[in-house]
């Protein structure tokens, strides 16, 4: 199973300008050193609360937001990745730069960036604002084709109709405006727009949060069917943990710009190891009044990403924190079966 996307030490900082001369005073560390591998053909879930950086991470991978530092390797064969690792240690910069220019999305510019946009697309959370209210549906879905120059003239219409039928809409819907549709249908139009250029990778940014529960199931079905049919790789970003449980193969939990735990869905939901993940999963309201579960209620609020706490970022609210958590930041460690945790409880202390 090859890695489609390999993210190495990705950082995105937003500068905070202050003072009379508006100089940079501090950084909002939206994404602060993320290492991630997304396997081809999987649905990768990214969960966390607001402000944790999951949406920023998704948009940075798509280069909608410029990364501050780090690398995003797209479709790099494992041999190349190994070579890059070795080169980074030995600091052979010329070969490294060459390889990076070929595979690292963070370095793409101009035409290369344009071509890359065909392969990676995004579906937004709110279909009301993500579709231009003054464009006909057929123009909305056709725009990627025209801009990328993939097809011209008559073929555009054919492709648009083909795409719409894949998401469950018909030719009748071509000549209408987005506000004439329901929320679920609008989201399907957004999906059609994202898939019309035949991308390999799609970021789904909370695609079911703005629709009703009954429509959610339709959309989830659609995502699964399309993934099988078109061989897509998804990153499903959401704060709704119950939905992610149903559709993702692997899930990562983010907190304040870093990944704190990552594992296969069943492993993670059955047995969360990181205290934050435990609190997060215990707070999901279960639609069954007979189940009474022990709830871990966290104290305080999420600290600001401008001044993240020293050491482990979660130590200010962690019920299990001890001394080393204030000082040193824990690394992501594999505790077996692909289950990674970043917590000092699982790191052997160096004696």
């Amino acid at each position: 199973m090859s890695a489609l996307i390999e993210i190495r030490k990705l950082k995105k900082y937003y500068p905070v300008l202050g003072g009379v001369l508006r100089r940079k005073v501090a950084d909002i560390r939206a994404v602060d050193g993320v290492n991630l591998t997304i396997v081809k053909g999987e649905c990768f879930g990214l969960v966390g609360e607001s402000g944790c950086g999951k949406t920023t991470l998704g948009k940075t991978v798509l280069r909608l937001v410029q990364p501050t530092s780090g690398a995003i390797y797209f479709n790099a064969p494992p041999a190349v990745l190994e070579e890059i690792e070795k080169l980074e240690k030995s600091k052979d910069s010329r070969r490294l730069r060459e390889l990076r220019r070929m595979y690292d999305l963070a370095t793409y510019k101009g035409i290369k960036l344009q071509m890359m946009r065909r392969k990676m697309q995004i579906v937004y959370q709110d279909p009301t604002t993500s579709l231009d209210p003054r464009m006909l549906v057929k123009d909305i879905v056709a725009e990627p084709l025209i801009v990328q120059g993939i097809v011209r003239g008559q073929a555009v219409r054919k492709k648009v109709v083909e795409m719409l039928s894949k998401v469950g809409l018909t030719e009748r819907h071509l000549l209408r405006y987005p506000h004439e549709f329901s929320g679920g249908q609008r989201q399907r139009i957004a999906v059609a727009r994202a898939l019309v250029t035949n991308p390999d990778f799609v970021i789904l940014d909370e695609p079911t949060s703005a629709v009703d529960v009954s429509v959610r199931a339709q959309l989830l079905n659609l995502f699964q069917d399309l993934q099988k049919e078109l061989n897509l790789t998804y990153t499903f970003i959401s704060h709704d943990l119950s939905v992610v449980e149903c559709i993702a193969h692997r899930v990562a939990v983010m907190y304040l710009g870093k990944i704190v735990e990552m594992a296969r869905t069943e492993d993670l939901y059955k047995n969360p190891l990181h205290p934050y993940a435990q609190a997060l999963f215990s707070s999901i309201p279960i639609p069954d009044p007979t189940i009474k579960r022990k709830r871990i209620i966290l104290t305080g609020e999420v600290p600001s990403p401008v001044n993240p706490p020293a050491g482990c970022r979660f130590h200010t609210r962690c019920p299990k924190a001890f001394e080393i958590c204030h000082i040193k930041e824990p690394e992501l460690k594999d505790v077996g079966n692909g289950h990674l945790v970043a917590c000092h409880l699982f790191i052997e202390p160096e004696c």
Binding site: L64, K112, Y177
Partner: protein, 389 residues
């Protein structure tokens, strides 16, 4: 693609505009003031369009010059007979609204003045709007230092007093302005060079080199052409004072639009669909043209309609002062300027020459009122928070 499909496509393309129009008309009908405003503007539009029929020109080469019936200084009341035989020959019989000082027919002046008013108002607003749209959308979309520079430049223009600038231009520009294309050639060369350099910075490798070469060649050619221009390449623009006023007002009128558009663009810029367009690979130009502008243009339409009235009023004021329409030109403001000495005509029967200033004044008043009411109506109608009541 069948004709039927094309037709349906066209129909759905304009369907939202039709729906908006229907909604707008319904709302206009509900508000009596908007009805009045619309009626007034339609009235003036009809007058302007049918001017050649309502007031057949005596001198067909220059319909805007009002015919003079003799040279007597005293204005004559409405209903007076036309004395000049030549004019009678063309079909005119009476001065319906009377005459001004110098026997300028008021009726003719008012009818053709409607055309003048429309042309001044619409032209100035269209030019200001165009400049405002371009500067506002670039400023709002790119932000940063481009925004700062453009906004400071806009501030400078805003500081210009419009009337004074108009007066200055009227005096400064000669009646025949020879535009030396040679000089223009250098100007165009500079602009092209800047454009090419900007464009080049976005392209890779070999394209850059080739285009750079082409750009340099173009620049050099234009420059040489500019320097050694033979006298043939000179364009002579005939500007009468009214045109100069027009230019002046257009040049100082755009900052208002710039600011409004900039505000709207800042709001729309962060909407998801703009980012989605970027994710699809749209160029900035395409995003601005096809996504941002159609969504930001409504407030500007309202401003523009209100502005038309204001511009006409300003032009009338300038014509009244003598800087503006040439003597004898059909312009309401100018007609009032001829009434200057006849407003109060002595102790006995002081208002005997009321028609000299009242009638053109009424035309101005109604025209500006109509546009103001219409602008207000547009604002009430197009304001999204009040819309669906």
């Amino acid at each position: 693609m069948s004709i039927g499909y094309r037709l349906r496509e066209f129909k759905s393309g304009i369907r939202p505009w039709l729906n908006e129009l229907k909604f707008t008309l319904k709302k206009i009908r509900k508000s009596p003031l908007s009805m009045v405003g619309t009626a007034i503007i339609i009235f003036f539009a009809v007058i302007a369009i049918f001017a050649p029929i309502l007031a057949p020109p005596v001198d067909s080469r220059d319909p805007y010059s009002i015919f003079l019936d003799g040279y007597g200084p005293t204005p004559r009341p409405p209903g007076s007979e036309i004395l000049d035989s030549y004019i009678r020959g063309t079909g005119w019989t009476t001065h319906y609204f009377g005459t001004e000082e110098g026997q300028i027919d008021i009726y003719y002046g008012c009818i053709w003045g409607a055309r003048t008013a429309f042309s001044i108002g619409v032209l100035v607003v269209v030019i200001s709007l165009a400049i405002g749209l371009i500067t506002g959308s670039i400023s709002g979309f790119y932000g940063g230092i481009i925004d700062e520079l453009l906004m400071r430049f806009t501030d400078i223009i805003l500081a210009f007093p419009g009337l004074v600038f108009a007066m200055a231009l009227v005096i400064a520009l000669p009646p025949q302005w020879p535009l030396d294309l040679g000089v223009m050639g250098i100007g165009i060369a500079i602009v092209v060079a800047i454009g090419v350099v900007g464009f080049l910075l976005k392209l890779p490798g070999i394209w850059r080199f080739l285009l750079g070469l082409a750009g340099v060649a173009a620049f050099a050619g234009l420059f040489v052409w500019g320097l050694g221009s033979p006298p043939v390449w000179v364009l002579r623009l005939n500007l009468n004072n009214l045109d100069k006023v027009l230019i002046a007002l257009a040049l100082v009128g755009w900052p208002g639009y710039t600011r409004v558009i900039r505000g709207e663009v800042l709001r729309v810029r962060q909407e998801d669909y703009v980012e989605a367009a970027k994710a699809v690979g749209c160029s900035d130009f395409r995003i601005i043209l096809r996504h941002i502008l159609p969504n930001t243009i409504y407030p500007v339409i309202i401003m523009a309609s209100l502005d038309i009235g204001a511009i006409v009023l300003t032009a009338a004021a300038l014509s009244f002062l003598g800087i503006g329409a040439p003597v004898g030109y059909a312009d309401w403001g100018q007609m009032i300027s001829f009434a200057r000495n006849w407003v109060w005509a002595g102790k006995e029967n002081p208002w005997q020459f009321w028609y000299t200033f009242t009638i053109p004044g009424l035309f101005i008043f109604l025209f500006v009122l109509g546009w103001n009411l219409l602008g207000d109506a547009f604002r009430d109608i197009l304001d999204p928070t009040l819309r669906r009541r």
